[in-house]
Symmetry: C2
Subunit: 195 residues, 2 copies
Amino acid sequence: MTKGEETRQRIIEQAAPVFNQRGFAGASMQDLLDATGLEKGGLYRHFPSKQALAAEAFRYAVARNSKIRTAHLDEIASPVAKLRAHIDHFVTKPSCIPGGCALLNTAIESVDTNPELRELAVEAMEGWRTRLMKIIQAGKRAGEFRANTNPRTLANTIISTLEGALMMSRLERTRDPMRDAQSSLDALLTLYSEA
Amino acid sequence: MTKGEETRQRIIEQAAPVFNQRGFAGASMQDLLDATGLEKGGLYRHFPSKQALAAEAFRYAVARNSKIRTAHLDEIASPVAKLRAHIDHFVTKPSCIPGGCALLNTAIESVDTNPELRELAVEAMEGWRTRLMKIIQAGKRAGEFRANTNPRTLANTIISTLEGALMMSRLERTRDPMRDAQSSLDALLTLYSEA
């Protein structure tokens, strides 16, 4: 990495929590300058616009979260156990970037206001679902899931339930909704894996 | 209603979609003036601040959604059927106010930035969960749910799954995640109501 690339990466990492906590519209230029310790000219030297910086900060946040939430899954042989471990990672490891789940936050804010950020959120959502669907399909082939298990339905339900529970847990400042989501998803996985 | 009260109510109804689509930070004074057709002075005559108007718009949106989503539930005798009808209302009747679910949107934006709006979202969430828990408790007394069904866990799971699925459906512009959520919640309700 050149010195310029290093600075660029540092700016992205320092801006990510600002966008994640305050939203794109809520993050002011002053918030970003405070977080990065730069002058306006210094920031614009690396990013042509707030939009360009927000896009990079989102990509960075998604990559970080994805890495943490899928860590060590390859070491687990059973597809059902893999899904349970993924759910457990989501429930027990809070987002590494302050402000909760960047995908959820960006999806909510961008839908009616920011097509470019929305597109990035759509891609991240597709990536997550595809990953879960592949595990579920492997589980069907291995006979761990009932033959009539719909991979998309189950993958979408896991994502919906986890993201909705994260929203509730952050709002209410209690881990109860996350634990409740895990317990219900566990029951659902057992249901779909019973012969 | 006096003429002043009528104007105030009209402003709330016209501002609600602006806040719901653009968020509190994203809704500019100009957006609010455009939506209400007022001059700045006219708006401030009725509301001392953007915050005060946003709080009333949120209360209005929650009351409208709650009315639609619990309509006719009293006419259904069986608690399990009541829950299924509630889920069906949520899945089939899109929010009456453009921009999706005001509770979800406000929860996400307010958590780290706006204590007053967060407090209103906490109250709305508690109201929704309490309502669902009462139905589940009635279902346990009537023998429709297994004795070991945890009312809070099931209520939180219904809310998480629906809200997460609404986020996905709006992001991806397809009803699939909502239908998938309904199908999974149906399976879960059947599981908890089997003897």
